[in-house]
């Protein structure tokens, strides 16, 4: 079963290369993606009651195969780096692969791992997120890519490569969440870096190439940090999470944990490493959705979750928390100043991950609970938003939020999906807020007041930029024109299911907690752990959610019965009568145009981006020296 789960995406990826006809690719993608969804759900149901541990240490070929694959990947990256004359990338990759080879041969005997694969409730939950959401995104991509190439005929059609990489990505993510052995995790880590590189560079425009190199450089640097951490752990005879967590905190182990955390920060695009995720926006939307919601950035979070017993109130923990906090605040501020909807989503992803990572850094059971909840809700709502924005941009021919006040005239459905997605990101009684609520409590209990104040401000700014987008979506609602756009099959299936998931998971959040998160946390800690959201509060939240859906049903017939007279807008008495234009001073007709606030002066991206990168780097470097210094002194 496990082999199938891992093998299917790999096979799908390989098969995809064989096919050239778009029809065949479409059918294959639909079939494989549905199978991935079905398999991941079945896998979770079948293995729900046990912790699956598989020993592969007797398979002597495994380390060599791992190494071979790593060499191949590095070779490919170095080749690309030479072609594009990137010395830095060459050096980083070379250094990292040399270290890996050295590690494999020097510490081979010391680092026998008996539990190669370890699947507990956290892994199961991650498999569900990756499989279901990743699968839905792949299905969506079929139609989207067809449209994409029709709209952009100048881009070479390499759809088979695109879907190959998408499935490879899913396979790598499955690998990351099931292995216990760090060297295997590193392999999957590198595969996902490579996959993101290929996806970002898909269009081969100069900008895409440049951004893909930024991404791969950052991620290879993260890989290098990971490898150094791995070697340092190898010195101590540690090669897997389970022994790492139970090890004593010697100097090398502390440094290794710090380096692994830093590697996770690169993947999760935290400051100072967030540049690559912003650049990743040049990729076709489904791949951005995949990178942002359920895969790439969640790999970093997953690694930190596994390391979390080693974090907490030590230097590594505080560094991670502070970087997360700074990222949460700074990225939210930058999101305010963006008009491009995809860029708002990118900043908000970075910002939300900041919150998640700050939680993981705290490391208390409560904080971990909040972090996992955030991961779940964020994955669903963010993928819905990305896919809706993808469809919207094809309909409007623009990604600008300023143009979205006409959206409801084109497609009511899309507008509603966007509204659900946005609501899911920030407001009571939707998911992210439930998790944030627990997070706030965890921060308070940790006694880190700076982070508490940061969270208060960052949450408010988050509310600001989402609400103004929401306002723009609703602003023009009274000018509804007949719908000129019909959603097609794949789009419809994926968007409807994601929107349903946003709401259903909100309703079922106590169930998610009790069946996945609580058992996982209880397995890692000896203290008894009550779920942070009390049953009464949960009930009130669910009640509020129901109220939101029931109220319109009650109101609609009432309002329908008492019909009101519709009047024209107040335009200082100069309304021409159509609500869209007014008479100016000389009697000429002007159109009413209303624009949102982006507050460049206060939240400008140029101003804050550099500062927050420096601040993040400063915290990271200070943390690094503190880890070393703490032991020396």
């Amino acid at each position: 079963m496990l082999g199938l789960l891992l093998g299917l995406p790999v096979l799908a990826a390989l098969f995809m290369l064989l096919f050239k006809k778009q029809r065949q690719i479409a059918i294959l993608t639909r079939a494989c993606a549905s199978l991935v969804i079905a398999l991941s759900i079945t896998f979770c149901v079948l293995n729900y009651n046990k912790t699956l541990i598989i020993d592969l240490s007797f398979q002597h070929w495994l380390p060599y195969a791992t190494l071979l694959l790593e060499v191949l990947i590095s070779g490919f990256i170095i080749y690309k780096a030479i072609v594009h004359k990137s010395v830095l990338l060459c050096l980083l990759t070379g250094l990292s692969i040399l270290l890996s080879i050295g590690y494999e041969f020097l510490y081979k005997d010391k680092t026998e791992v008996s539990q190669t694969i370890f699947i507990d409730k956290l892994s199961l939950l991650m498999i569900l997120i990756i499989g279901v959401i990743g699968g839905i995104i792949c299905i969506y991509a079929v139609e989207y890519m067809k449209d994409y190439h029709r709209h952009n005929p100048e881009i070479p059609d390499r759809r088979n490569i695109f879907f190959t990489v998408m499935f490879l990505f899913l396979a790598a993510m499955f690998g990351i969440v099931i292995t216990n052995q760090l060297s295997l995790l590193l392999l999957c880590w590198e595969i996902s870096s490579l996959a993101s590189f290929l996806l970002i560079g898909y269009t081969k425009t100069p900008k895409a190439v440049k951004n893909s190199f930024t991404a791969i450089q950052t991620n290879v640097f993260g890989g290098l940090l990971f490898t150094v951490g791995l070697v340092l752990l190898g010195v101590n005879g540690i090669a897997d999470f389970r022994s790492l967590v139970s090890s004593n905190g010697s100097l090398t182990v502390s440094i290794a944990v710090f380096l692994l955390s830093a590697a996770a920060l690169t993947k999760s695009a935290q400051f100072p490493f967030s540049g690559w995720l912003l650049g990743a926006m040049v990729a076709p939307t489904p791949s951005s959705a995949l990178l942002h919601s359920s895969t790439m950035v969640k790999a970093g979070v997953y690694l930190l979750l596994r390391l979390s017993p080693m974090l907490g109130s030590n230097v590594s923990g505080i560094t991670v928390t502070m970087i997360g906090g700074v990222t949460f605040l700074a990225a939210a501020m930058m999101a305010v100043s963006q008009t491009d909807s995809k860029r708002v989503l990118a900043h908000s992803t970075i910002s939300n991950l900041g919150l998640i990572i700050a939680c993981v850094g705290i490391g208390t059971p409560e904080a971990i609970w909040a972090a996992i909840m955030l991961v779940v809700f964020h994955a669903i709502a963010k993928s819905l938003l990305f896919l809706s924005v993808g469809s919207t941009s094809h309909q409007l021919g623009s990604r600008s939020i300023e143009d979205m006040d006409g959206l409801i005239g084109i497609s009511k459905q899309l507008t509603i999906f966007l509204i659900i997605g946005i609501a899911g990101m920030f407001i009571a009684p939707f998911g992210m807020l439930i998790a944030k609520w627990a997070a706030m409590r965890a921060f308070l209990d940790s006694g880190n007041f700076l982070i508490v104040i940061i969270v208060a401000f960052a949450s408010t700014i988050t509310m600001f930029f989402w609400t103004k987008w929401l306002g723009k979506l609703i602003a023009n609602a009274h000018r509804i024109k007949p719908t000129s756009y019909v959603m097609r099959g794949d789009e419809k299936v994926s968007l409807y299911s994601l929107a349903a998931l946003v709401i259903i998971i909100c309703l079922l959040h106590p169930l998610v907690s009790s069946s996945f998160i609580e058992p996982y946390i209880n397995s890692t800690t000896t203290d008894s752990f009550p779920p942070p959201i009390e049953p009464v509060a949960s009930a009130i939240i669910i009640g509020m959610l129901c109220l939101i859906f029931i109220l319109p049903l009650i109101l609609y017939p009432i309002y329908h019965k008492f019909s009101v007279k519709q009047t024209s807008l107040y335009l200082s008495g100069e309304n021409t009568g159509d609500d869209e234009s007014f008479y100016g001073g000389m009697g000429q007709v002007h159109r009413v145009e209303l624009r949102n606030w982006y507050m460049q002066g206060i939240f400008g991206e140029e101003f804050w981006l550099r500062k927050s990168v420096y601040l993040g780097a400063g915290i990271l470097i200070a943390g690094f020296f503190a880890v070393i210094g703490g032991h020396v002194v």
Binding site: L444, T460, F464, T467, Q566
Partner: protein
């Protein structure tokens, strides 16, 4: 429990309306006018309810109703002693609906009013959240219930946070100098701001929502002064009234500020007050 819900549902709007009436009388006296009768806000609402309903579009009234419903919910949750953060979240939801109502109006006046209202929320929200955090820090629980069991009122431990809260209440209650999004006086450059496009029943609902808002805001003040001692529980009510009087004075003394200044000032006040108070708490 039922008594408290009934209190929240019926006594609160009456009290809020009376406060609004008092507000108008006091303001008038400060301006050497006689002012309307105390019950004028109720007369206004009744008159609005009887007016012929006209609207600029068919969705605005939904948002107005939503805003009212969730404001009431927030007050009910607060009065029944639920989690303070939950009350604030419900309240914020109501505010977001209110802003969206403004956006949906889509005349320049209501649109700009909505944007400004959103900025006002951004000004006051951090302080309200931090006040709740500080409440948890001192009392060890988010349940509003515990304030009635405290030996000493919160103000003794959280004086600076209370000052910060006082500051942002002016913004929440849309009193001058922070009446950016809509003013109770129709002399604003954006006419009646966010409510420009509302008439009749919708406007009445906004008025009633405001009554609930007044009480919600003052309840936050009450939380800082109440303790297990009976006299404090009575005294706290008078302190709330005094705070509201102070707000009226401020309303009449200051001229409107620009939104940039409002944002900067309120965030600086919030940051300094909360950081200083948390540091002091940590030292004690």
């Amino acid at each position: 429990m039922i008594l408290r819900i009934a209190l929240a549902l019926f006594a609160v709007p009456i009290a809020g309306g009376l406060l609004a009436g008092m507000d108008r009388i006091i303001t008038a006296r400060m301006q050497r006018r006689k002012g309307p009768p105390l019950l004028q806000p109720f007369y206004d609402v009744i008159k609005l309810l009887q007016k012929e309903a006209t609207t600029v579009n068919m969705i605005t009234r939904f948002f107005t109703t939503f805003s009212l419903c969730f404001t009431i919910l927030a007050v009910v949750l607060l009065f029944t002693g639920q989690d303070l953060l939950l009350c604030i979240f419900a309240f914020t939801l109501a505010c977001v609906f209110f802003v969206i109502m403004g956006y949906s109006g889509y005349s320049p006046y209501s649109f700009i009013g909505a944007e400004r209202e959103l900025i006002q929320i951004m000004c006051y929200e951090p302080m309200i959240l931090i006040a709740a955090f500080a409440f948890y820090e001192v009392s060890g629980s988010f349940h509003v219930e515990v304030v009635w069991k405290l030996d000493q009122p919160l103000i003794t431990r959280l004086p600076l946070i209370f000052l910060g809260l006082m500051f942002i209440l002016t913004i929440k209650l849309r009193k001058s100098p922070f009446d950016l999004s809509m003013s109770h006086h129709g002399h604003q450059e954006i006419v009646k701001g966010i409510t420009t496009e509302l008439t009749g029943v919708c406007l009445a609902m906004v008025e009633i929502t405001h009554w609930f808002e007044i009480i919600f805001s003052l309840a936050l003040v009450y939380i800082f002064f109440v303790s297990s001692a009976a006299y404090m529980q009575v005294l706290a009510v008078f302190i709330c009234l005094a705070v509201y009087f102070l707000e009226i004075v401020i309303d009449n003394v200051f001229a409107r500020v620009k939104w940039k200044n409002a944002l900067k000032i309120s965030w600086i006040v919030t940051g300094v007050a909360s950081l200083a108070n948390f540091v002091i708490l940590g030292l004690l």
